[in-house]
Symmetry: C2
């Protein structure tokens, strides 16, 4: 397996819904790039026993963790601990790329 | 605890050696921003039972994983699986910021 990945080169978008692009998967974690066209959403959900970190690469993101919802840009990281509801929306005006790491892999 | 962090705002550098700035810590993972002045290094090391992901935010990084060493820039991610030797150096010419996620927390 390769140990290197280019997040931008692997960032594919889809017209119908946000797209998850996997960079790495191990027994302990996965690392994806989530790509959102304007208006696309990852609907509110929770994971039991796994923590997730979002890191905004490009664009603007409306990230909700629990009751805390913020509009943030590149350089912002968000932690969604196990069992805490979280969601992401692209409010625009441009495309959104988010690095996502989750441990352990659900 | 807060669920949001600004990686750039929390990116502190140190003159004597590369500096680790923690963004989040849970039982399952940690998320740091490592800051390297030109020439600073995280020396080769391994972790048993934990996988690490590097993601270059700003600057140039010379990342080694096993026998694979590459000079990479922003947007490149690298996976250092458990028990595989890895290291990072800032070859310059500018400062280097790397997002680091490790699971589980060693």
């Amino acid at each position: 397996m390769t140990h290197f990945a280019d997040a931008h080169a692997q960032a594919q978008f889809a017209a119908d819904k946000m797209k998850k692009n996997n960079l790495f998967t191990t027994e302990r974690l996965f690392c994806d790039v989530y790509c959102f066209e304007v208006g696309q959403t990852q609907t509110p959900h929770t994971h039991s026993g796994s923590d997730k970190v979002y890191y905004v690469i490009d664009g603007r993101a409306r990230i909700r963790v629990g009751d805390d919802e913020r509009d943030v840009g590149p350089g912002t990281a968000a932690l969604a601990p196990a069992d805490v509801t979280h969601a992401v929306t692209n409010p625009g005006p441009g495309r959104l790329k988010v690095l996502v790491l989750m441990a352990p892999k659900p």
